[in-house]
Point group: C2
Chain length 311, copies 2
């Protein structure tokens, strides 16, 4: 049986700071042959090294599933991404500047490639299927080691040439500032899971295994852990309120590692947002529903869009 | 000669906190019979009182220009505006909540009415004709007694049911906070022309005639005036950087009374934005080109859109 293109699986690659996840994703969104390999870091040719690894993964998947050749591929990466031009504009962690991912990957893979931003692509799936689907003005934040976000306005993704959604780098009041009042830092340095662990270790001198440990200590009465957690909540709520005031955000979906804290995260955020806002919209704060595979599904959705319907 | 609707003048009303400006605006954007009357303030029926005043103004204009009856009217107001529903959701200064402006004004005026937000409508004209017209991701800020803004993303106005663009109420670090670091206030309380005058008077004990006097004192070596001006620039730059990080803003147009400071405003803002941002877009900071009539032109453009082309 020969499958039409619309029913064919697509190749899906989620290139992260540590790992690349790869798989074939069928028309129902089922991931086949999922694998995870370290992201190659080659400072001299960072983009080329990644594309070469993707070609190896594609060959492996083709060998494993010989009957169902992929007719398109989706690649998602972090950083600043110009999806229209198919260019990885900038990645602080992975090192490229203006690398033409779409062109290079199409050359290597021999099929059409959809190239886009990791969080925006995962967020589009989350927004389509998750708790925010009834809302038009939505921010999806992924709070893990760092903080990335996708912004939707009037139901559409705000891209701004790849420069939108840099919530992790938005300024917040600096809780470590000395007397004087107006010193600022960035959200990622206070409100991320990574920052919560780091700040607690620095302030307390105690070694902890991630933000989850800090939360456990906070709920067991460790005053320094309580303070670090509360300051993270202050910073996250501060940035959420900025979104509400600037673009009238009506729902904020929070995913990533920190979202595992559930109501220990959402409840203090809701209280702070409520206290800060006046006549403005009160955004719904919602936990992301899709897990680790949202990126692969997002990349697959981008790839499938290249194929159109029917054939 | 009978004019087709597209060539007919339209009625245009710019309802402000102090005055209503009214006029007929012809197809070339020329304002005829411009008049300015105090905005009626009736706490018991704030919306009704305004619509009654608009009907009186319409009658005066019809009497003054009997040969060219208006075939549509544009009304713009401040506050939270739901232009799709035609409702003035909330105005702190003028007192209404959920007043159905479009329906009530159509009843009184007997012609189709386009109802929208004052700053968004003026900003649409500024964005179409002014220095930001080459950009897609733009914020137009009107900095006067208060601060209002219109947000454009991908070339389109971001409305969010009327809740977007509340930059005046976005949080900024509070320069009057005592030791401790993270106290916040709102942009309007530090960065508006009104706040600059008020804060200087409070801190120095000297009476001044507006923000312009504070700037004059600052440039003449008055250290307190310098400080208040600098703190206003800090706050405005803080909010501009929030826009850049959240929605990738590439141009910020500044109008309103404070924009009369020209480079004394733009140069310190540019320096602060440059210092704060890292890999992000550097937004162009541009002075608004249209003057006091931008609101009337915006309301007229909204009204003309109701008429369509040709007839």
């Amino acid at each position: 049986m020969v499958l039409g293109a619309a029913e064919s699986p697509v190749l899906s690659f989620d290139v992260g700071g540590t790992d690349i996840k790869a798989g074939l994703v069928d028309a129902k969104g089922v991931v086949l042959g999922m694998r995870r390999v370290p992201t190659p870091l080659d400072p001299a040719r960072p983009g080329e090294a990644v594309v070469e690894r993707l070609a190896e993964l594609a060959a492996e998947l083709a060998a494993e599933f010989p009957g169902t050749p992929a007719k398109a591929a989706g690649i998602i990466v972090p950083g600043i991404v110009d999806s229209v031009a198919g260019v990885g504009v900038y990645s602080a962690n992975l090192g490229w500047r203006n690398f033409p991912f779409t062109a290079e990957a199409q050359k290597r893979l021999g099929i059409p490639v959809a190239f886009d931003h990791d969080v925006r692509s995962a967020a589009a799936v989350e927004h389509a299927l998750g708790g925010s689907r009834e809302f038009s003005d939505v921010v999806v934040m992924v709070v893990g080691t760092g903080i990335a976000a996708a912004v939707f306005s009037g139901g559409k993704a705000v891209t701004a040439g790849g420069f939108a959604g840099e919530l992790g780098h938005a300024q917040v009041p600096d809780p470590d500032a000395g007397p004087g009042g107006t010193a600022a830092t960035i959200l990622e340095a206070v409100g991320s899971a990574g920052a919560i662990a780091k700040r607690y270790q620095r302030i307390s001198g105690n070694k902890v295994n991630g933000a989850r440990s800090v939360l456990l200590r906070a709920t067991s009465g460790d005053a320094l852990a309580e303070r670090v957690w509360a300051e993270a909540m202050d910073a996250l709520a501060f940035t959420i309120c900025q979104c509400v005031n600037i673009i009238g955000t009506e729902a904020v979906v929070i995913g990533g590692g920190l979202a595992e804290a559930g109501e220990d995260l959402l409840q203090p955020l809701r209280a702070r947002v409520e206290q800060t806002l006046d006549f403005q919209r009160r955004p719904h704060l919602i936990r992301a529903q899709l897990g680790q595979d949202a990126g692969l599904l997002g990349a697959a959705l981008n790839a499938r869009a290249l194929l159109g319907g029917g054939q």
